[in-house]
Every structure is written in structure tokens, then in C-alpha cells.
Amino acid sequence: MGLIQETDHGTPPSGSAGMVSLTIDGMAVMVPEGTSIMRAAMEAGVTVPKLCATDSLAAFGSCRLCLVEIEGRSGTPASCTTPVAAGMAVATQSERLKQLRRGVMELYISDHPLDCLTCAANGDCELQDMAGAVGLREVRYGDEGANHLGQQKDTSNPYFTFDPAKCIVCSRCVRACEEVQGTFALTIEGRGFASKVAAGMDEDFLASECVSCGACVQACPTATLIENSVIEIGQPEHAVVTTCAYCGVGCSFKAEMRGGELVRMVPYKDGRANHGHSCVKGRFAFGYATHRDRITRPMLRARTTGPWREVSWEEALGHVAREFARLQKTHGRDSIGAITSSRCTNEETYLIQKLVRSGFGNNNVDTCARVCHSPTGYGLGAAYGTSAGTQDFDSVEQCDVMLVIGANPTDAHPVFASRMKRRLREGARLIVIDPRRIDLVHTPHVSADFHLALRPGTNVAVLTALAHVIVTEGLVDENYVRTQCDWDGFQAWADFVAEQRHSPEAVASLAGIDAGLIRDAARLYATGGNAAIYYGLGVTEHSQGTTTVMAIANLAMATGNLGRPGVGVNPLRGQNNVQGACDMGSFPHEYPGYRHVSDSATREIFERMWHVALPTEPGLRIPNMLDAAADGTFKGLYIEGEDIVQSDPDTAHVAAGLAAMECVVVQDLFLNETADYAHVFLPGSTFLEKDGTFTNAERRINRVRRVMPPRSGMADWEITQALARAMGLDWTYTHPAQIMAEVAATTPAFAGVSYELLDRVGSVQWPCNEAAPTGTPVMHVGHIARGKGRFAITDYVPSEERTGQRFPLLLTTGRILSQYNVGAQTRRTENLRWHEEDRLEIHPNDAEMRGVREGDWVRVQSRAGATSLRAHITDRVAPGVVYTTFHHPETQANVVTTDQSDWATNCPEYKVTAVQVSPTNGPTDWQRRYRAHSAASRHVAAAPAAE
């Protein structure tokens, strides 16, 4: 096994349909029109020397190394900037070209430190390669003249170093930051000999606008920008392609290794979700995998206040099996259950629901998707018949109008956000509906046409007002609706939205936005060409989350923005495998493939496969499990990869539910907040330690590949299997491929999926079956999956969570780029440098009224509880709205959130909590007690393990 070398064609593909024939070094070549000579040559197998060109960036033509000769033309044009023409005869090698190229290289090298042997990039340096390629043998200019050799390194970024002495000013980094990432953090300062790369306003990298995506490091042909891990460890020697385990974009990476050590994660060009780009999390934040806090041995304790005792796998699993059997005997079959995580692989999730249904004999299985995207499943299922986004990410390239609602892509889905920004720079228009001025509203060279800064909790009212404009101004695509949708349902809906009470003018004061803005946004969405809606948890995490998803689905149908590239409804999934967790049957009411447990035909499929009679009634959802525990009828819980104490709302209630159980089993990497309430800890494995698949937000099934052995000795799927066996089930999987085969055999949308197919084609988007053997990038083409699209009436119901005298402000929550979810992983990496604590964003007016200054401690009180954190004063939030993230357990943002939830799915209403904010001196009593409790419940007894 060696490194995976990807071909650099020098310039991007042309994308044109017309073809052109020419000859290169006497060889006949046929390429699409608009292709550069350099790329045409590469496709014919001829490598033209180059330095400033790379195929992720538009050609620039500055280094003059790629010169060629063209028959009948004078001079030596640069092959990277010269497009092919029919009948052209190109020579890439001649005496003249050799001399010219050597001259160019000589100049570069004369101003470059000749420390190749000790340079970290030795063996992975294009300058070195090119010196060899052009046959450079001597350098006539010494280094005594003016040069750049003594310049200071910039080591401010924790993950990479900038050493200007090695810079050849090819500006690949600058262009990568602009074209690929869209941050525009870098510039070339000065001219001629004095020109140099500078971050921001001549700041260091960390202080600049840089978001540490790594695109510049990736683009740099020399050691000027290089990963610190390569400096520290050395060049990697083998690589494995795998998938990022952080967010729902699902970026593909080459995990580049030296022996058993991970040197770096390099974004993979063939990855269809990311096309070679990455963000700071996937690219750099993998240090948690080897963090000293990792627990690698199973542990037990009798009481949650007592110390942990390390035990063998056998003892731990035997204990769980006996306890679960005892609880079921005493309290009934339905007294135990399990929770899986959207961070788990598809195969792990499938096994957990199988364990619950076939082993526990009930349907008490739920997933953390409950608390994020369950309304997406319900809402899109109702409207279109499929519980998933309608497009692939590539579709954005054909989008003319983006409507972004309740999502913050530059922070939460950064790699896709870069593609959105690129499309916006090309001229696509942008509507943002969000209480907060998210970065996308104004980024370099991108400005939203309309920002509807609505009051939290009024999504349905505003979306229905958009529909009002579309219907009453005659902007409906009637032909689409008549042929694709249920016409009676449409008419009832059209009558409903046309009512005066849904007009922008009627909704304006309620939503806190100008009626004209709503009208303009609706007109743009309906008439601006291909319009696509992108949404996130700001849509789903409301008491009307499902209704909001339906309102979005209505808009797309009414305007005919469905069933082709460039349009559609795109839920941006938070965690890496939210889509997969839902697909794999981890909800208590349905089997894999969204089939209800009461459906006897489906049940029979699984009964035959598993040789057991299966229960017909829906099981408990996460909040119901906790409630039932408080009632004393739910006693045992197996939790894989989820930290409900930190991530679920109303912390006190979650904690009380867990404390009321008799056997709580946590399978995780670290002793997390939930483990404080656990009796058994099973050490889990990271995504680097196991095989499996993740399904991203565009329904793309990507392979996760093991690059190192599990630290605890077992991958997570093996632990679940061992537990099943301890409980008497006869499971004998030897590889996750067999689990996927079982999914394919039982679930129609996955019928064509296999590891063999994934290894062959890279990834596929479900449905993948006989009708679509290589998957389905865009859904509802030709007709909507459920037959006729269904319009739902979306009556606005104000949240019970209302402001008043006691709680005059609305708190909404979100997350930031460098951190991930509850932060268990990212807090254990250098990403902390960008986010050392959660802060409360508050508008200057609200702050002044309360005597709060920047950085002051404030107490945030809701009817559920109170927490304290420091304030950040900003007009990003509107007056009356405050905002915070939830990445740090000390903050305990969820102590404040309430148990309000979505009417259809019980997805919690994280995005609206009425609060009061007041100055304070420090943490609240709850925070202090919680900290003491945490410290006490994480004690591991010193006794050596008996393994």
C-alpha cells in the first residue's frame, strides 16, 4: 500500500460539449472545447512542466514554466492559459523551450534556500520536481544578492506553518483562498521582487480572516505552507480514502499515514461531495482520536456516585446482559431501550435497531436525529413521499436563486458553503431568512439580496406570507402543479394562503420584518430562474418544525422548483450521518427505509431475516424514555455515541430521567456528560478505527475505512454484536460489508448498494436499485415519488414559549465553524484556539439597558433553569434576541432550553426560549453543583484491570 497519487491536470475541465482535435508532440488528441493545452497534454499522457497552475484553480499564467510551441504561431505561449484550437500542432519539448524553462527555474532556485535534504516537503515539492524535470544542473546567481531567505516564519496557526523564505510567489494560495474557499484572506503585497504573500491586513494567519480550511496549504507547491504534522512526523508513506466524521457534507479524505500514525488528512479530489476541498474540522481536528482522555477499557460501577472499575469485555457485557434480563423480568419487556447517534455508521445503527427489535423484543430505539431533523423526515415524507433532500450538492452550480432559511452554512457546512459562495460570486441571487445576520449575508464579493431577520418562532408565518405573494400575484407554475401535484389539495392551499391574514402586510409586525422585503423575496424566489431552498435546524427545531418543512415543500411545488438540477429542497444535515441514522430504522416507529412497524408485509421481511416475531407497536422516543424513567417504568438504556445530557433540552429533566434508571450503558470515546449517570462504560472507536458507511445530506453513501486498529480492541459494530451474543442472539458478522448486504436485502432503496459497488464507483446516492443501479442524484424527476405532490395547510401557531415581563428576550442557539456539536471531539483539539468558551450574543441596546458590557458575566434565566456565561455585544442579533452556542459543557445552554417540542415528532424547540439576562459575577449554583458532580462521577479506581 502506498500513497494515493491524484493526477493534477493543471487546469480545471472545460465542461463544454463540443470537441476539438489537435496534435501534441505528434499525437492526435481530442478534448472538449475550451480545454487548455496543458490539460489536453496531460490527458494524452504528456506532462508539461508547471508551477503556478493546478487543476483546482483557474489558470493564471505567471510562472512561465509551461511554455510550448505551436506550429504557425510565433513565440512560446503558456500552455495553461492557451486554449486548444482545431488542427493545432503543439510541441511541448524543444531546445528553445528547454533553455527558457531552465532560465526560469534558475531564477526561482537562486532565491530559494537549498536545504532540500532537511526540508519537511522533501519528496513532496513541486519546485524540486520541476528542477528535475527541466534538467536544472547549475545556478549561476549566488545567494549573496538581494533575496528573501532571512524572513520570519508565521507559526500562529496551530495546524500549519508559513515560511516565506520558501515562497515562489506563484499565488496559488491566494487564488485557492479566493476561488476554492471564498474567504479572500490572502493577498500578494508589493510588486516585483518585493512582492510577498500576506494574510489579512498584514496580520499573522491566526489573527486574520483565515478560517484554517487548508486550501492554501493544499495548493502550495513548495514547503512554504505546510502542515505542522508533516514537519513533526515526516512525509506519510501510505494512504486510505475515507469520509470525514464531522458534518453532513461528508467530505472524502485521504488519511495519509506513516506506519500506524496518522500524519495528515488530505481532501480527496475524487470525493463527490467535496471535490478536493475541506474545512478546519475534517482537515485538521483529528487529534482527539489519540487524546489522553480516551477510555480504552470497559468499566463498571454499582452506583453512579462510586468510582469506575476497569473490567474485561466479558465481565462488562455479561453484566449488561444479566441486568437487562433482570429488568425485563421485573419491569416488563418494554422497560429497556437504546439510543443511537447520527455519528454512528449506517451499519452500527442498523445493528442497534436490530438488537432492540429482535433482542429486547420492543421498539424502544431512537436516535439523536430526533432532536435535529426528525421534522424533515415527516414533512418531506408527507409532501413528496421521500424523507430526504431532493438534490445533489453539484446541483448548486445550476442554481440562480438560493433561499437559505434557518441555516448557517459557512459555520455548519463549510465546504458546501464555499460552493454556494462560488456560485453567488458567479451571479446567483441570495435570500437569507434568519434572526441573526449570518456570515453569508455579507462575505467578500457576496451580499444577500434580501435578509429577512425574522423573530425566532415565526418561520411558518413568513413562509406562508411568501406563498401568499406567489399565489396572489399569479406567480404559480400552474402547469407544474396541474401535472405533478394533487390539484384539489393545491386549490385548498391556494385559497388558504391567499387570505388577507397571510399577506406580508398582516405578518410584518408579528415577524418583525418589513412587508416590502417579504414581497420582494417572494418575487425573486418565484421568478429568478432555478430556485433552491437550503435549510437547517433553524427550521426544524421549533414547535412548528414539521409545519415549516411542509411550508418549504409547498413553495418548491407551487413554483415548479422540483425535479431537475439547480432547484429543490435541501435540508443541510448537522452531523455526518443524520440521513443514514434515519434511513437505517433508528426511529421507534419504523424499520429501515421508513416503513412503519405496524406494516405486516415489512415486518415479515425482517421476521424471516431475523427468525423472530417482532413487536407491532411503536416504541418510546428519547423524551418519552426519560419521562417513563421518571415514572418508574423505564429502567435500562444502551446509548451509543450520544451525549444526551449535554445535547438534549432541559438538562435537569434529562439528568433526572437517567438517574431514575437502574442500568445505563454508555458506549463512547470519552467519559462524557451522560456517562456521569452511567453504570457501565464501553469504550468506543473513532471513525479511523472502523469500517462502515456514512450517508451525507445529499443521500450519498460514502465509505468509512479503517486506517488503524481500534484502541479498545473492538470496533463499535463488534461491541454491539458482542452484546447481542451475550444476550443470546446468534450474530456472526465478520465485516460491516455483511451488514450492508443485509440492509440491501431488506430495504428497497438500498437494494443495489454493496461495498463492492462503493469501492468500484466511490459513492452512490440512494435510491440505488435495479431502476437506478448507480444511484439517484436528483429526485422526483418526471414525477414526484409519492405520485402527486401534496400541499399541506400551514396555519401559524405561535410557540407557547412567549416573551413577557419576566422573560422579555428570545434565546436562540447555533454553532460555529471550529467546534462540532457538544464539542467532545473538537474541544480535544487545537480548534479550541478559535472558540475557548461559549458566549451570549446580545444587541447593544439590550446590553445597555441591563448595564452589560463586553465580556461581562451574565445570567440567562428561563422558566426551565439558569446558566451563566460571558456576553458578546453585537448587532448581528436583532434587539430582543440573544444567541449562544452549546459546545462547552460548562455553559450548559440546555439547562435553559425547555421541553417544548415539535407537534409531529417531538423535536425539541431549541431555537426559541424566552429568557431574561442580567449581570452576574460568575457561574450559577447549578453550574457549580454540576461541576462538582461531574468531577466526582469520573473517578476511575486505580486497581489494575483483570484482562
Binding site: 456516585t305 424533515t376 415527516y378 408527507a382 389539495g489 405496524s598 418510546l620 415514572d631 435537569a652 407537534w903
Partner: protein
């Protein structure tokens, strides 16, 4: 462990179940077709674990305080639900 908040209550507490049933009813009551009670009952059958339904029926038998008219009608339908009947034979409710 830190003392739990004094608001500790189970799912089987009628207040919460009533609130949930009313929330569901408000959605279906707004839909055309005059089938609201049936749809609410179906939703509850599809998504509520039997313990929750049983607790609701107990509350209903005791007068069903707090239930909206549609929710009340729906719970009455639950009362007559034949557990053997396959739900999926009725028009498909979506997943979620």
C-alpha cells in the same frame, strides 16, 4: 448528583400528553377534508407508545380535562381502536 429541577414529571403526566394531543389536533384541524379526528387518532396510534396511549385513555375516562374538541374526539376513537387492525392499510401517514 445535582438536585433535579422541581419540575420533574413523566410523559404519563396528563398535562404533557394533553398538550401534545392538542398540538397535533391543531395541525390536523387546519387541514381540509373534515377528517381531523381520524387523522389525529392515526397519528397517535402511529407514534405514541402504548403506555402513553393508556395514560391518555385513563385521563380521558376521568373527564379528559384540557383536551381540545378535536383531540377529545380523537381520543374517543382511540378508545375503540382495534389493536389488531393494521395501520398501514389506511392512507399512509408520513414518517418522521
Amino acid at each position: 448528583m445535582p438536585r433535579a429541577s422541581p419540575r420533574l414529571r413523566g410523559s404519563m403526566s396528563p398535562d404533557k400528553l394533553v398538550m401534545m394531543a392538542n398540538q397535533i389536533s391543531r395541525f390536523f384541524a387546519s387541514q381540509p377534508g373534515g377528517q381531523a379526528a381520524r387523522q389525529v387518532a392515526d397519528h397517535i396510534l402511529r407514534f405514541w407508545e402504548p403506555r402513553m396511549r393508556a395514560a391518555m385513555l385513563v385521563h380521558f375516562a376521568a373527564g379528559g380535562v384540557g383536551l381540545d374538541p378535536v383531540a377529545r374526539e380523537a381520543v374517543a376513537l382511540l378508545d375503540h381502536h382495534d389493536p389488531a387492525a393494521d395501520l398501514h392499510t389506511r392512507p399512509a401517514a408520513p414518517s418522521g
